[in-house]
């Protein structure tokens, strides 16, 4: 305990640019999370619609795809894409990345990290969206077709606007999980907050003050707890609002840590 709270062991935080260096790294994590969730939402919607397709082979293939990517560890996917992508793809990424982009995005390995994060999260979000769409009462779709809408029109104007709205709270809590998962890209040598933490702990990076590993990573953990706690409050609030508006109960989606999806009552 005395080691943990001794002022000598926290001096690094006020010395040099240590705190700023770590905070900038944390910002890179948030950027990775936001970029990934945007693409994952798009691909997730496509996968969910394919899975709900009336064509049996299409829905079977989409279901198999989603189940495979949902059941593999994310770190496994990131490592596989970092190691397994052709060199030419990584080179193309490095050439295409503008010079003003953060330094961490310049490495071709980031492409592997993004592919892993997006494929995994799009599978997860596809399942959340499917649950949201299926949670609508059947009468909604039937009423739409009784009004003479085609299936496409019914989806576009009746089903998706309602189904996807129910998924907003679950998507925010998925963003929390994704936010934590961005630390995994440090394994493939991308200098985000974890790598920067290691750099700070290596002696004499900024001045002669030693930065103990324990304190540095407690500080990094604290950053995540604060941001994710605020996100979870937001998610809770959205969930309550949604329940008030639609009067639905919430049901958990299988295979996820803490996901809830709307359930027909």
């Amino acid at each position: 305990m005395s080691y943990l709270f001794s002022p000598d062991n926290w001096e690094w935080l006020w010395t040099g640019n240590n705190a700023r260096f770590i905070l900038e790294g944390f910002l890179i994590n948030l950027e990775i999370a936001v970029i990934s969730i945007i693409f994952a939402l798009i691909f997730g919607l496509v996968l969910a619609l394919l899975r709900l397709s009336v064509l049996k082979p299409v829905s079977f293939l989409a279901g198999a795809w989603v189940d495979v990517f949902r059941n593999l560890p994310l770190i496994f996917l990131i490592l596989y894409f970092a190691l397994g992508l052709p060199q030419s793809w990584k080179q193309a990424w490095e050439d295409a990345m503008p010079s003003w982009a953060p330094e961490a995005f310049q490495s071709g390995l980031v492409l592997g990290a993004f592919m892993g994060l997006i494929l995994y999260n799009s599978a997860v979000l596809a399942e959340i969206m499917r649950a949201g769409i299926l949670s609508l009462p059947k009468g909604q779709g039937e009423a739409a077709s009784a009004l003479g809408m085609t299936r496409r029109q019914a989806l576009r104007y009746v089903i998706l606007p309602q189904g996807l709205r129910r998924m907003v709270p679950a998507t925010v809590s998925q963003l929390i999980t994704l936010n934590k998962d961005t630390t995994l890209v440090s394994i493939i040598a991308i200098t985000e907050v974890m790598r920067r933490g290691r750099i700070v702990t290596s002696s004499g990076f900024f001045g002669d003050v030693t930065a103990p590993i324990l304190q540095v990573f407690i500080f990094i953990g604290f950053l995540f707890v604060v941001v994710n706690y605020l996100l979870s409050r937001l998610s809770r609030r959205l969930e309550i609002r949604e329940r008030k508006i639609t009067g639905t109960k919430l049901k958990r989606v299988g295979g996820l840590e803490d996901q809830v999806a709307a359930d027909p009552v």
Partner: protein, 217 residues
Amino acid sequence: MIDVLTEHWSEFSSGWWVTVQIIAGSFGIAMVVGTFVAAFRIAPNKWLQRLGGLYVEVFRNIPLLVLLFISFAGLRRAGVDIGPWVAGIASLGLYTAAYVAEALRSGVFSVGKGQIEASLSLGFSYAETLRRIVLPQAFRTVIAPLGSLTIAMIKNSAIVGVSLLALPDLLKQARVVSARTFQTDETFFWAAVGYIILTGAATLIFRALEKRFAIAR
């Protein structure tokens, strides 16, 4: 395709076994600690509730990788060397325990208030009510979320093996084999099979439990 598996069978099987051991240890810790935290959260004492709430918020919002860095490298530098096995299993267990506690708590709350009132008015004591009325019903509703948590924990075990802890689990062995053979696709395919077997087994077990304890309607 199959020759990568047969030639490096010892690496794959030992890695798979290490993964199974990590999962088993963490599952035990997660259940025990999760039950205690859930008990704290529904305890009549306000400070115990807050303590339980603090545990859940901290361990649910911190990345597992940060926990692993703190518990292994951080503590070792501080002069407390608990070794990679303890650090890995404890981190994964404590991390999952926060989710288990939330699942158990919502299970207890899912039992209707009328049930408890009816039981108390029939003359059951508070402890008897909990043991005979609340917990058997809560257990049923909690099986499905616990299954999801177990699957998530199986997937998270890969983080334990691959981070700085020197635990040769399935993913780490797959990296070793792929570095030796340059057959990345084949090696990772077999490792994926290993993980799907584990998550698939967990899915089937929890589905069977759910069916076994389902309420007849």
